[in-house]
């Protein structure tokens, strides 16, 4: 009986270790495939090279880094105020019945596949921008709007649980000092929950940088450095997603090298977000 129990424990342990194995395998294979190109081109030349012409063997991903950053910053500018606002609303203002409608809605928002967001961007947002600004429509702006919607669930959920974790005493102390409810929220509760809210924004940022399909469908994918938020862009993810379909040889390895840069960005963001305590007192 004792050995039987031990064997089971061992099996369970191995299952738990698969997560470690997965991360190691992913890191190893992405780096193994992409590193040769980075060493060949040179890390700085790869990161700051302004030209991406795989047919001529010129690999510079500077335009894509800028593209990813612009789309992400735009998404944060649009998504963070709405997301935090909605989180505060759910934690402080919403009556259970109202929250009972909004919360499943947010779960649904998180469940909608990214191709559907891409579709909506393609048939609604892009034509709208095209009409309003008399341009091609595929742009940083289109990408930012769709990404802003896509990161809402992440920002709302994590911010809300951070706000809820603020001890009731804080709010009561503030109110008993004569502050209004809003003053208590703005000056006491939100500042107390700020580390969780920051973690929420960082994770949202990670989602925006990592999103692929929706972005490919609406940003135009030009490899030129964008001049304004109405210019088309190609993101790091877009660079991989578009060209993986037909790339081979060195070109394909350059896409894995793009993957390394993306992977590094994401791991950095995730590690930072993981180190920040998400709830008060954690």
């Amino acid at each position: 009986m004792k050995t039987y129990e031990r064997i089971i424990q061992l099996v369970l342990f191995f299952c738990a270790v698969i997560a470690i194995l997965g991360v190691l395998l992913i890191s190893y294979f992405i780096i193994k495939e992409g590193a040769p190109i980075i060493t060949k081109v040179g890390l700085m030349a790869f990161l700051t090279g302004k030209q991406w012409s795989p047919l001529q063997g010129i690999y510079g991903i500077y335009p894509m880094i800028i593209g990813s950053l612009l789309a992400t910053v735009g998404a944060l500018l649009l998504g963070v105020p709405v997301g935090i606002g909605c989180a505060v609303f759910l934690a402080e203002l919403a009556k259970p019945r109202v929250a009972g409608i909004i919360r499943p809605g947010i779960e649904l928002l998180a469940g909608i596949p990214s191709v559907v967001y891409g579709l909506y961007g393609l048939v609604v947002i892009v034509p709208f921008i095209r009409k309003t600004f008399q341009n091609q429509g595929f742009s940083v702006l289109a990408g930012s709007i769709i990404l802003a919607i896509m990161i809402l669930p992440t920002i709302i959920n994590i911010s809300e649980s951070a706000i809820r974790s603020v001890p009731k005493d804080y709010k009561e102390a503030s109110l008993s000092m004569g502050s209004s409810h809003w003053q208590a929220i703005f000056k006491v509760i939100v500042p107390a929950a700020r580390s969780g809210i920051i973690a929420a924004v960082i994770l949202g940022m990670g989602r925006a940088i990592g999103e692929t399909m929706a972005v490919i469908m609406i940003t135009g994918n030009s490899t030129l450095i964008p001049e304004s938020i109405l210019s088309p862009i190609r993101t790091l993810t877009g660079n991989i997603g578009i060209e993986m379909g037909y790339a081979s040889g060195e070109h394909q390895k350059a896409l894995f090298a793009t993957g390394i840069v993306l992977f590094a960005f994401i791991m950095l963001l995730n590690t930072v977000a993981n180190m920040i305590p998400k709830k008060v007192g954690e």
Partner: protein, 293 residues
């Protein structure tokens, strides 16, 4: 009250007008919070509404039962639905046992230590890795290195890694919610630790565990980037797990980005959205059952 404030807080310069200003500010601020919540819900309604309104009219029995023709321009999505189901089943058959076992280990057996912290860190990391990276990895590891080619196996194994964190996390939470007294009761009756877990803890936590599995299905069904470079995008019914296939999300992507057929694009999107709605609804029902214990 207002007068009292004015007298007692002269140093803070609160006068009746500034109290009014505070009230006005509060109204404006709360209005903005309401607006944020309303925007969130409106966006959801706009997207789902747009797809359903444009798509429901193109749904027919034939759309579900006919094969795609002319690259998906005409015909239905029969083999595409089947491929999606295959892929979901395949990845669940592997991810569910592994994920639930991992969750049991983390909640019932593990003592805090370096390895546990590492497991948690890696689970979190896996959850944060973008799907295109999973696609790259799946391609180079399963498709090329292990020579599984573009197939249900390659796609399914890649998706297994992707949905593992969701299953582990929800199962962990469900197992933690099982009251300690259940375990003590079982152990006191002479059951071993594993018997207790298997016969008492797991059945009680089952609704929560199923929720995680259902959410996993949702991710598989909606995934594109990780699937297209592992399971491929070829049309036709995969007659074995070693054959490639095209899932609904990949099909929708192809139809939309190549502008092949508006009707079939919206119809496919509608089927996809409805699947997601059903999955979310089922997951919510199960969570409510878990909370009741």
């Amino acid at each position: 009250m207002v007068a009292g404030l004015t007298e007692n807080n002269k140093n803070n310069r609160i006068s009746s007008t500034s109290v009014n200003a505070i009230r006005r500010n509060e109204k404006i601020a709360f209005g903005m919070l309401w607006a944020a919540a309303i925007i969130t819900v409106l966006v959801l309604i706009a997207i789902i509404g747009h797809v359903l309104i444009n798509g429901i009219g193109h749904l027919s029995l034939e759309f579900f039962t006919q094969e795609p023709e002319n690259m998906g321009k005409e015909g239905g999505i029969f083999s595409i639905i089947i491929t999606t189901v295959y892929l979901a089943l395949f990845s669940l058959l592997i991810a569910a046992p592994i994920g639930v076992s991992a969750a049991i280990f983390l909640t019932e057996y593990a003592k805090e230590g370096t390895i546990i912290r590492l497991i948690r860190f890696c689970t979190e990391s896996l959850a944060g890795i973008p799907s295109i990276i999973f696609g790259l990895f799946g391609y180079v590891f399963f498709v090329v290195f292990l020579n599984f080619r573009y197939s249900i196996v390659s796609g399914g194994l890649t998706l297994t890694l992707m949905i593992l964190p969701t299953i582990i996390r929800t199962a962990e939470e469900a197992i933690k919610m099982v009251p300690r007294s259940y375990r003590e009761g079982s152990l006191a009756l002479g059951a071993t630790k594993w018997q207790t877990i298997y016969k008492v803890v797991l059945p009680t936590a089952m609704p929560g565990i199923l929720t995680g599995i259902i959410l996993g299905i949702g991710r598989v069904v909606g995934e594109t980037a990780a699937v297209i470079y592992t399971a491929g995008s070829s049309l036709g019914l995969p007659n074995s797990i070693w054959r490639p296939g095209r899932t609904m999300a990949v099909h929708l992507y192809t139809l939309a980005s190549e502008g092949l057929s508006k009707e079939n694009m919206y119809a496919t999107a509608t089927v996809l959205i409805m699947t997601v709605l059903i999955i979310n609804f089922a997951a919510n029902k199960l969570i409510k059952r878990l909370v009741r214990i």
